[in-house]
Amino acid sequence: MASTQGKSSVALPTARQAEATRHTTISIRERRFFRRYWLYIIAIPILALMVLPYFYLFVQSFAPWDQVNTAFIPTTFTLRSYEWIWTGGGYGLPQPWVQAFLNSMLVTLVDSVSVVALGAIVGYALSVLHFRGQRAINNFILFQMFYPAIILLVPTFLIIRVTGLYNTYWAMIIPRLVNLWAIFMYTSFFRSVSPELIEAARIDGASELSIIFRIMLPIARSITTVIFLFVFMERWTELLWDLIVVKDPSTQTLNVLLTTLFGPYGSFPGPLYAAATLLTFPILVLFLAFSRNFVQGVQLVLR
């Protein structure tokens, strides 16, 4: 084998040598290929496993109702589940599926934008401004981050009750306007921005707020993408808080509506699959659209 390797560049081999060379060169190439790419035999099935539930969800949402769940992939496809969702179908009581989707969107968008904006402002103050008490506030944020939030659940609920905000959009939006992790991320990131840049802007007469929004945030594009995506996703899929704080179905988020109807629709889950697809795919699409920025941002964050 070693001898034929070296001889492949020698001109005019004999017929037998030529045939022998052809066989051994191919199998060497094959062997090299296998050694380099064998990991994909494991990686691809795992990838399929990760994506399978989304696939199942999507496919089942188009399944005719007598085949939902009984057939892994249905024989025919129908829009009946989606029609049900769109027309607000329900056993006797119409269900506000589409309204719930819009509620989710409203609450999530407002909170995500707020988290980024307020996070950048506070992060700027806690990193660049160097004022007395800055360190104390930073330490307090760390303390709050590691404090078990579960203790706060009942009293925060009571605050909502007592202020009359129970069952309103405010109850869902206000407690999530600020996110500690976002502040923490912006604080660390802004520390790495060169102070001369900021000082130059100040000398030019820029106000602190315009520095934040015209200079700092554009520099922080990657990390802002990561923060926004994560916060958006967490808010969109939040259950516990939205569940306890709103009881009127037309104000509930789609996630909560799906939960309350999970049992009642147990025996005919078709519409649930359609609603769940409606709940899931915006996030997937949003995320995949920004996946490159996300990967860059994550690498930045983890360094």
Binding site: R36, N69, I141, V178, L240
Partner: protein, 303 residues
Amino acid sequence: MAITSLRQGNRGAFRKSAQGWLLSSPYLIFAVIFFLIPLVWSLFLVFQQWDLIAPTPVFVGFANIKEALTSVRVWQAFLVTYKFMLLFIPTVMVSSLGLALIVHNLPRFKPLFAVGFFLPYLASGVVTSLVVRGVLSYNSAFETFLRTTFGVTPDWLNNGTSATIVVTLMIVWKFAGYWALIFLAGLQGIPTDFYEAAALDGANAWTRFWRITLPLLYPALYTVLILAVGLTFSIFTEPFVLTNGGPQMATQTWQLEIYYQAFNLFRAGYGATVALLNAIATLVSILIIRSIVEAWGRHNGWN
């Protein structure tokens, strides 16, 4: 910056201080309303009984604490949470490290697989529960397959052990790819010279992993471990939607029990008490696990 303050004297420092506090105010206001006030209120609630309907709470002294410490339900919730911890933590650590190793060693398309493995994190727990319930339902393609091929009809969700395993696997599926990113960053930080030197000394892949990779992943291991422990104490959505804590409290996590007491039975004071116990248990568990992991880290050369 120093020059500006020198020129303006104390006025500059004061202005900067005012600016700092002003720009931090979104966080400060938020922390007072949604952290400090609930924190203090929760300590009062522990000694009160309030069903949210009566105009004022009733002072009951240590009754809540006594009841919580002797309640069968609370101990069951405690056991369930620790059961999840024992099942979930090793599984998720091995899985996410495994996924990271796979992505790290893939010759091409690394970002594709990194993002692909991350996708489960985007799914709402309600959606995953819907899919799991569908796949495990009696007439599903999967169950029918099991019946015809193996003749068994496991009732996954009505058996305490299998229900726990199903919920654990669902949560592992969700988080493994996300935490793999943390391990991935850690792996990328290990200089390849170490491996080359070890290979020269005759170390095989197994040894290289245990003696080089794992110890050098200490920061990542620490982070993921703390995240995993914190997560275990707040598992809510999947057991709530899929099994509602059943069968017979086999999956009634602590968070679920707090929800039940405070929001189903309207016992705000008692709910707050159980939450306080949970918080204490969380802190104690984290401290214990931290000291074990830190000892391992020190043994391997980290300080």
